[in-house]
Subunit: 583 residues, 2 copies
Amino acid sequence: MANPLVSDRNVEFLLYELARAEDLTALPYFSEHSRETFDLVLASARKLAREQLFPAFKPMDDEPPRLENGQVRIHPAMRELWPRMFEMGLGTATRPAEVGGQQLPRTVAVLAAHYCMAANGAAMGYLGLTTGAAHLIEAFGDEFLKREFMTRMYAGEWAGTMALTEPDAGSSLADVRTRARPQADGTFRIDGNKVFISGGDQDLTANIVHLTLARIEGAPAGIKGVSLFAIPKKRPDGSDNDCACAGVFHKMGWRGLPSIALNFGERGECRGWLVGEPNLGISYMFQLMNDARLMVGLNAASTASAAYFEALEYARTRPQGRSLNARDPASPQVPIMQHADVRRMLLKQKAIVEGALALLVTCARYADLAKHGDDRHRAQLLLDVLTPVAKSFPAERGFEANALSVQVHGGYGYTSEYLPEAWLRDQKLNTIHEGTTGIQSLDLLGRKVVAEGGAALVALNEEIESAIERATAARVEPGWIDAVRRAAAVVRDVTMLLASKGLSGDRDGMMLHSFDYLDLFGTVVIAWQWLLQAAAAKEGRDDRFYRGKLAAAQYWINAELPRVDYLAKLIADGEDSYAADWF
Amino acid sequence: MANPLVSDRNVEFLLYELARAEDLTALPYFSEHSRETFDLVLASARKLAREQLFPAFKPMDDEPPRLENGQVRIHPAMRELWPRMFEMGLGTATRPAEVGGQQLPRTVAVLAAHYCMAANGAAMGYLGLTTGAAHLIEAFGDEFLKREFMTRMYAGEWAGTMALTEPDAGSSLADVRTRARPQADGTFRIDGNKVFISGGDQDLTANIVHLTLARIEGAPAGIKGVSLFAIPKKRPDGSDNDCACAGVFHKMGWRGLPSIALNFGERGECRGWLVGEPNLGISYMFQLMNDARLMVGLNAASTASAAYFEALEYARTRPQGRSLNARDPASPQVPIMQHADVRRMLLKQKAIVEGALALLVTCARYADLAKHGDDRHRAQLLLDVLTPVAKSFPAERGFEANALSVQVHGGYGYTSEYLPEAWLRDQKLNTIHEGTTGIQSLDLLGRKVVAEGGAALVALNEEIESAIERATAARVEPGWIDAVRRAAAVVRDVTMLLASKGLSGDRDGMMLHSFDYLDLFGTVVIAWQWLLQAAAAKEGRDDRFYRGKLAAAQYWINAELPRVDYLAKLIADGEDSYAADWF
């Protein structure tokens, strides 16, 4: 049986039973939509994913892009896929009608993208970067940029990139050095070097617009002197804009999408167009980065999903060994699914994949409500506090899940004849790009949970309380409900302890265990999502699918959530072995 | 600074301060040795490793073996390395003088091999397979096989392999199907297909001897009907022996060492020589497999060591960001080593690498004592019970350590211009080959801890108690000592609980959490090794090296060992989510 990549039943479950997406159509922005239009979008996404994107995944991994005479050549399969993705409307699905969009809820769009990312993350990378860059221009650019650049990008005629990182400025964007000098015609002369620019060059589209962070001459030091520019590979008049590819990085994974070093202005001929106001580049870029972080989380959940279904099918069909009690060596071997440790590995993958996906759908719903709902501020607070978790949980635990998919396949899993090793290689990037896990943990603890006096945590606790009510009404196992309630209290206590450390001036002490705090926080957030799924499962009729949901919920709450006490103690004790000065 | 791959100071520490290797020279078998001869071996190993093996690592990863007209072509660098490894005596270091060996303690040899594996695991793979196969013939073969095969293999003229796995018999060796028919001349006609045969073909040596599991016609079903054969690629008379390479597996890592599919007897012309008695093949093979498992653990610790030192150097020299309190954006960036989360990642790597290595040295010492010591039975019990941990702990946690090395390198770590991604790819195999982690956990819980009424666990507790005495005398932090003592008691309690489940007939219940049991057991075993290292560090004068040991001991005991309670509860509760029938 071909790998489904994603469970259709689970998508339906998350959308309609968990997130109750139909409720969104009551909001004016989504009023043209209905369950029927949602289902049409999902049906075409899964068709595109399974029939076109997935067959190109392995060929694109096998033959990565190469640089020829200064031009990056990508896999020819992309030329087939690119127009299909835009015809399907993936580029503008959530955008307003006035820019050619379909005003689809992100709650639905995230699941359409999930199919496509599970099928071919690299192919979706080109699209996500293009639409993300176009969205930046939509939000902050002037009419010229919208007309000349955005429209063509949303249509897939041109592509886009995010050009942030420099050789000495990766995690630290305050140290961006690329320079911009005002020209008489209102443009800027750009001069600088960028690295790790995904999709930074290709032979797929007629032009590429690099949304670039640079410093206008005389701007203040640090992040308050960084501006945002749109820098096209070719100028609007079609002439060359002096953006040179200085090299293609050979990578562990994501081999279908080139990551390049880009030199702006080697000949002094590179022009950039300022987006928005000078010196506000970082704040603009954060719109894209916050979206990009959710997309990284989604890619991670999707990569883990594809690998999980591959392992599930393998475990069902691969005979090896016998049960512990069957001692007759002449008896036939059993499918490895029957071995307890294989089932453990599969259930853990399921719990990670479906827990992460539920969180991403939940975040998408908050994003919809933050733009179009009634209590936008509250929804935005929830989205903000959950974003570091929605980015890093699928990346960190998804990497474990992907490693388990290799492990279930045994020796075959280590060979390139099977796909799990490719997904494992792809997955590793997700803990790094768009802010490493360490950066996410600083963002969560140093910024998000303490913002507005802890308002986000209050809102999150209300959401957890409401999940507990739903679970109680649905007669979910009381022990699970108590465990989640207790764990949420642990998060509150630990947060208060750390916040008071910070308030007393011990910022280093507050942040020492930021990674463990993120782990603790994420484990509880996913337990909340599993409690919700258990409630929805109990509300349905008893069948195999719901029993699977209950098994995974049980696993997460009984076998993962208890880590909370151990992590909380570690954080509260302020264990300081790595503060020692022996390094 | 070039990557040292291994800390010389740590090697000296483990050998002389922890394992007290000089004491071994009091045993007759090692009486020709002294600290001077030990140091000479280590000096030449580190020179070979750093000057010859390591420079070939990346080229061998970049250009994997290929099949040309039925012959596997390997990287030409191996032709330089192979004679150097044998000249150094790596092939026969521990073997007795009568077979040309040096009678070196394994306690020392394991550290010499550690340098070489950290430098180039694939290159050492050819050697380890050859000497392991020769050792099997030494132990169980007749004079003909020793003279014709073993001598040439120990000299590096011929190579050797382990040919166990078949397409339908990987973890389940009881299902080996390769057939052997007795011939008039005392040889056997062999007919069958093997897969994943590392070093199964190459253009490096004049001949290759495959130590092969096969079934003599009419033998009983199951493992009691499996015999061991020596099957050379070319017969002793130089004629072809009908061993055909049916394909080279493309692999995620270990790309310097071919893994092939091997067909014996396609033309009915393959001859095998029986090693030892018929139907005892599995018991013979376990000698090699137990050694091979320790070698896998050593490879894992070595791969993690090389990556750890790469990350350490990168963290010392890569400037990025500023401290949490330094808010002046014009101040220079600091080395990432100064960020708490980077230090956490480095210390965790150190604790895993050096904890694993200490265990492997401890196991090597038990192996020496089991062959040449006074209480051989007790030493063998300890070696047996620790082998599954010494194989799987470095593999499982080493994979985490290797992922952290990539993470410390950020975006650069994901590119193939840096080495951490290659080591991460290499590491993944170690949880799979020579018995997956799941298999190791069944071996530990189902066989090793319950053997002889739990005698091994009694011996292990005596060893832990003696470490506690040493730590107490050295004035190690009492809290750490208590934590280790308490954790050892948890292992005893959990083991008794599970054993009594098994005795009451509930074998499935006993084994349900075998993976968690292995994790629990391994975490405590490594804590024991860290307590010993803390004791040895306190016995020395206060310096940076010893402070590093104490920091890592503190980390393991405070930040990892507390997982024991959570794991014990999980096991004791018999959490049964993956017993559910929804799959």
